[in-house]
């Protein structure tokens, strides 16, 4: 087996674990924790989508990852501005 494929699967597993941790943080009591969790989840999902694009050749995953990387931080910043008041 190619070492690059092993590395990609390892990263996929690590990102899955991190996604679960981010969801667990996002369900905490305060709104700030939710923002931290969702921010981590968005970049983890974007990287997973890019990995799926490379491993299986699914083209639209790349477009979704671009949208997620652009709109995730924008949404987080907007909600943080509202939270600040």
């Amino acid at each position: 087996m190619d070492i690059l494929i092993i590395a990609e699967y390892t990263l996929l597993a690590a990102l899955a674990v991190f996604s679960i941790a981010a969801v667990r943080i996002a369900t905490r009591r305060s709104i700030g924790m939710g923002l931290v969790g969702i921010s981590g989840l968005s970049i983890a999902i974007a990287t997973i989508l890019i990995l799926i694009n490379r491993m299986y050749g699914i083209g639209f995953c790349r477009d979704i990852a671009y949208a997620l990387v652009l709109l995730g931080p924008v949404g987080t910043i907007a909600f943080a501005r509202v939270l600040r008041g």
């Binding site: 190619d2 070492i3 690059l4 092993i6 590395a7 990609e8 390892t10 990263l11 597993a13 690590a14 990102l15 674990v17 991190f18 679960i20 941790a21 981010a22 667990r24 943080i25 905490r28 009591r29 305060s30 709104i31 700030g32 924790m33 923002l35 931290v36 921010s39 981590g40 970049i43 983890a44 974007a46 990287t47 890019i50 990995l51 490379r54 790349r62 990852a65 671009y66 990387v69 652009l70 931080p73 924008v74 987080t76 910043i77 943080a80 501005r81 939270l83 600040r84 008041g85």
Partner: protein
Amino acid sequence: MYLVILRSAVLFISSILVILAALGILRFRDDVKRVLYARIHILGIADVACILALLALGEPLLAATYFILAPFVSHAIANAHHYGEGD
């Protein structure tokens, strides 16, 4: 051949950093004072790991975009917590 080994090494390093960030973000209890800032700090590790992975996967535009946006996100969350719902 060398490029494949280099990319694999970067992906392995990113995996280790992401796992460490996942462990670190869950390690703190919620009743610790100002734990949100610690979690934002740990999130930076995961951000940099994902940026490295995106660079190794051949997506420099995506990595550069997130490299610019990530500090703004962290600052916005910390600022909102400090002035909005801070303890």
